[in-house]
């Protein structure tokens, strides 16, 4: 096998002296310290300061409500099916009204969630979104299973912030059309 001999560069006298490099480094630090007006400008003061997260950031999956304040999830269970680490578990229930079905139980085990965003991608009702929430802590495993109420709480925040589009308003449209055609469910 061919090989190349790499010669180590001879150090100059100044380099061998070691101190000049130290002083150079100190000068650099001093320059930044003075430049920031004596404050530690490089360090972000978390948790008083928060990250400006990019739009594509994937935090805790959350459930959202539509403009009428109705939870959008219809418990189709596609997210449960697609979820690679099986973090989601849903138990559907029958409800009264234009929409027939909603989740009785909607749990996301945040110890399992890998923030892949498949749930958001697969959702046919645009009911689940990856929020920007990343502060996930708890003292027990149970605490880190996020239930429906908590997920809606996080989602509502997201809905207000990001203005989750509900241009179609499909259930409102359905109710209107049913009314016009004199049809009622059930």
């Amino acid at each position: 096998m061919a090989y190349v001999t790499v010669r180590r560069r001879e150090l100059t006298f100044a380099e061998r002296l070691y101190l000049p490099s130290i002083l150079k480094g100190m000068a650099h630090t001093l320059k930044h310290f003075v430049g920031a007006g004596g404050r530690a400008g490089v360090t972000m003061q978390y948790p008083e300061e928060k990250w400006q997260l990019p739009s594509f950031y994937r935090g805790v999956p959350s459930l959202v409500k539509d403009a009428d304040g109705r939870g959008k999830c219809v418990a189709c269970s596609l997210c449960e099916y697609v979820c690679p680490p099986r973090a989601i578990s849903i138990v559907p229930k029958s409800i009264e009204g234009v929409v027939e079905k909603a989740p009785e139980v909607f749990d996301i085990d945040m110890l399992r969630c890998i923030f892949c965003g498949y749930c958001e991608e697969v959702c046919p009702e645009e009911a689940i979104f990856m929020s920007k929430e990343y502060e996930i802590c708890g003292e027990t495993r149970e605490e880190l299973v996020f239930h429906k109420e908590r997920l809606y709480e996080i989602g509502a925040t997201l809905g207000a912030d990001a203005g989750v589009p509900d241009a179609e308003r499909k259930w409102a449209k359905l109710a209107r059309e049913q009314g016009e055609q004199g049809v009622t469910g059930g």
Binding site: V74, A75, C76, S77, L78, E80, Y81, P92, K93, S94, V99, E100, K101, P124, E125, L174, E177, Q178, E180, Q181, V183, T184, G185, G186
Partner: protein
Amino acid sequence: MADVKLTIDGREVEVPRGTTVIQAARKLGTDVPHYCWHPGLKVAGNCRICLVEVEGMPTVQISCNLEVREGMVVHTESAKAKQARRDVMELLLINHPLDCPICDQAGECKLQEYSFEFGSDGSRFQFPKVHKPKHVRFSEKVTFDAERCILCTRCVRFLDEVAGRDELDIVNRGDRNEIAVARGAELTSPYQMNIVDICPVGALTSTDFRFKSRVWFLKQTRTVCPSCSRGCNVTAGARWNRLLRLVPAENQAVNRWWMCDDGRLAIGHVGADDRLGAPLVRKDGALVETTWDEALRAAADGLRAAGANLLALVSARLTNEELFLARRILDALGTPHRDVKPRAWERDELLRTGDGNPNAEGARILGIAPRAGGRGLAAWGGSAIGAAFLCGEDLDDRPELLDALAKASFVLVLDSRETATVKRVATVVLPGVTSFEKDGSFTNVDGRVQRLLPVVSAPGDARPDWRVLGELGALLGCGAAPRSADEALRALAAAEPAFAGLSLGRLGALGREAAREAAR
């Protein structure tokens, strides 16, 4: 009838005269898309999705209602046929609500399947959809959604042709057409839930299974309905180790494509709250949990002490293997007092046999009946009972016998539930399992031996009855306990000519006829 030779997609097939093209194609393994056509119902020809191109015919033809002719050349996958089916799909979906996320049929819906296969990805329809009633209760068991309905009339035809009742009909005209309970009628057929199965879309759904689980999560296992001696083949769907639904599985020799509602809905006992999960022995009047070893030893001691005086009631709800192992024990004890508890069930012309014991025929072949000088169940009330073995059976419905049993010195109960019998009279309780939790076989009313497969696992420490009876037999010196239900069936096959040559594997999906003549 003379055979006719025709060509379908370049392959020749010979079928009897009178066969339709869709059937001939199925013989070749080609499944022409269809909604309204069902092999068990008359041809309606109204959904138009089964269009095929036939050489020499100017237009595409519906293959379900087109009889084969000699030399016919059919193309099911030609551009013309495919385009025609695409167009039919578009028409069917014009007013479809597309509420798959809510619809229970999703996952086993023909509309979804064909849309996926050859449907369009959008709708050209620009007007408001026609809306129809949703979640209408046709009956306690069936929920109807008119918007999802494609008016294939399978349900109407099933009730008319198979169940013999004109309970559903089509009402209104044009795009207001919908299925409804016929005027002056009620949907009361004991077979009505079959219309849920044959509905190719989500228009008819089971009220019982409604929103319980998406079907793609179900672990589906083929087994046998334990509600009557017909032994309808079923596909059991389970999730979270809970049995959620039964649907019929096709077996032309038994139940064709159907099953009765009572059998279908009789699954509550599997997940009941009173299931036994540990062996129990009575100490100072109260039942206390114990280990299997201790319970089996207590059971064996009690049986040995009773000997030929033991009264045995063996359930015909047990499998052939278990009946055989139970008989082995009774033979070893030498008791002539053995009987089966009769169990009443509805009876009709279609499927229900009137005998609620699923393995009544197996018990008959194996001779579970009083021997010479034996006391049958009818004579249990006659005089005092010393010791009894209730093998897979309870006497909750016979309080006078429970009174007699309460005075007995030893009552062994093998059962899956903590019945009143267990609570009141049992001395030793061995927790068995239901037919949905074990391997084995039933012999149906026509002598067909059919295989059971476990669908869910039993609660706690309950054990399959064949295992319990095998181990109990071993303690009583009947020979080694079988290590599997299959081993028990092989032992049965060797001992009983009616079952000669059978093993669980040889039963296959459709079961096999027992050689009943040999038993007579």
